[in-house]
Subunit: 259 residues, 2 copies
DNA sequence: AGCCGTGTTCCGATATTCGGAGCTGCATTC
DNA sequence: GAATGCAGCTCCGAATATCGGAACACGGCT
């Protein structure tokens, strides 16, 4: 009970635009007695969660709160928090939802949820894929810093399927479009007969933490693509929020140059 | 009492490297009874401060904690938290300590603490200064993104004193040196007869939130400079930590190119 | 100087937390 | 597959920490 009240006090600081609050202000807003608020604030102050400005006698959030927040980010287990989103995505689209993270020079699928259908797409978990082909790969590549993009496009690009784009100029144009609209698409670039859309989960600095994709057999996937993108972006927006990205989105990426 | 225990539980998550903790684990570490820990965790969970993984029955920090931390950053009042550091700096060096923030195309002093001496330096609060002359200005400029540096050096640079550096090439060399060593110096560049050292307060992304300087009359300041820098960097390191910068420092700035 | 609003302290009453003991459910073991 | 162990959860009377009204300090205002 008391600890829930203490949480309410902390949350009040987060909700209200003003940084400094007085005891009475908090008490009336939360409908608590002044002594109760005072006791709670004293306890929180002992632990550094809030600070007291002795001149004003106003309280504000303390630096320890920041430590906790950063610790949350440190320990962020993207696979764990993405799992329910993948399940939801797969159910909503009736296709396969995947999660990729970077590994070495490329990326690997670390998780997937497949739909309950006879014809479906299933990716291989743990296999290294290059960053120049396929929606998930391009979603990563598009949101990397310019130097890394240059590095990847400097290497010769392997032709994985007949539809793989290996021309650096075309690929750069494609990456710019992906950055702008926030998602990538591919039809058979990495895997012949497969199609997919993918979008990144961005952290507070705009770096891609992971990429989520929805994919399926090419023939039936292409007409579904628009609705898949809709669900996909909703999912990645929620995940990015949990990685510290503000709700309004912010700049597409730190490395995105002007238009 | 209980809310302090609840804080201890949260802090335990931040201190320990592992992200997920069980009830017994927490209870033994904190020397609390299991029911007490369970009650606390339930309350915290109701408020989203911690999350429960139903499969493991392990608890971890929740996304609300991140909201609180980001809210702390939003409301960060650099002037308020810098005030005691300025006082300490001025006392330690027996010179004037100042705080500047960016404003428009330049910067303004927003606070200062002067020493108790007859001959001293006092800056004017609230006056806009350009970013190319003086230690505080150069400390800002050196840590801005490359595009902004280019923009500032593209404009013609005004000669404020006979010692102002107006040659873009020399200035760029100077800025690189400032980035590398983490602090800037000036002798009479902005104000004839004055000398100062300055260092930035960097936020979590490496952007300069404010600049702290120590300054005084040129003749007596120059021999004191080494010790002033020492105290200055200690102060800005503490302030940067409170703005989310990890203790180890990290890269000097996001915009700093290769050596 | 006197007032008002705020933060703080005091107090008995009581509701809440306390922790030992016991229960449940999962997992590992033989 | 039954038994064992462990961890989490629930129950309970006892006790103590929290509760809130009221009174007290402390500044800032008029």
């Amino acid at each position: 009970m008391t600890v829930e009240r203490a949480c309410d006090v902390l949350l009040l600081f987060a909700e209200l635009p003003q940084a400094r609050l007085g005891v009475t202000e908090i008490a009336t807003t939360l409908e608590l007695s002044k002594p109760a608020v005072h006791r709670i604030l004293s306890s929180l102050r002992n632990k550094g969660m809030v600070e007291l400005d002795p001149s004003n006698r106003k309280y504000s959030l303390g630096p320890v709160i920041l430590n906790l927040g950063l610790s949350y980010l440190d320990k962020l287990d993207i696979q764990a928090i993405a799992a329910p989103e993948l399940a939801r995505l797969s159910r909503a689209t009736n296709e396969t939802a995947t999660l990729s993270v970077r590994a070495g020079d490329g990326r690997v699928y670390v998780d997937q949820v497949t739909p309950h259908r006879e014809v479906l797409m299933s990716v291989q978990i743990g296999i290294l894929h290059p960053l120049h082909a396929g929606a998930s790969s391009k979603a990563f590549l598009a949101h990397l810093p310019d130097e890394e993009i240059d590095r990847h496009l400097g290497e010769p690009l392997r032709l994985l399927t007949p539809r793989t784009v290996v021309d650096p100029v075309s690929l750069r144009r494609e990456l710019a479009a992906i950055r702008q609209r926030g998602w990538a698409r591919s039809v058979g670039e990495r895997q012949a007969g497969a199609a997919s859309v993918a979008a990144p989960v961005l952290d507070v600095r705009g770096h891609p933490l992971a990429v989520v994709s929805v994919c399926g057999p090419a023939e039936r996937f292409e007409p579904e693509m628009a609705t898949c993108v809709e669900h996909l972006l909703a999912a990645t927006a929620r995940l990015s929020a949990r990685a510290g990205r503000p709700a309004d989105g912010g700049p597409p990426t730190v490395a995105a140059g002007g238009p």
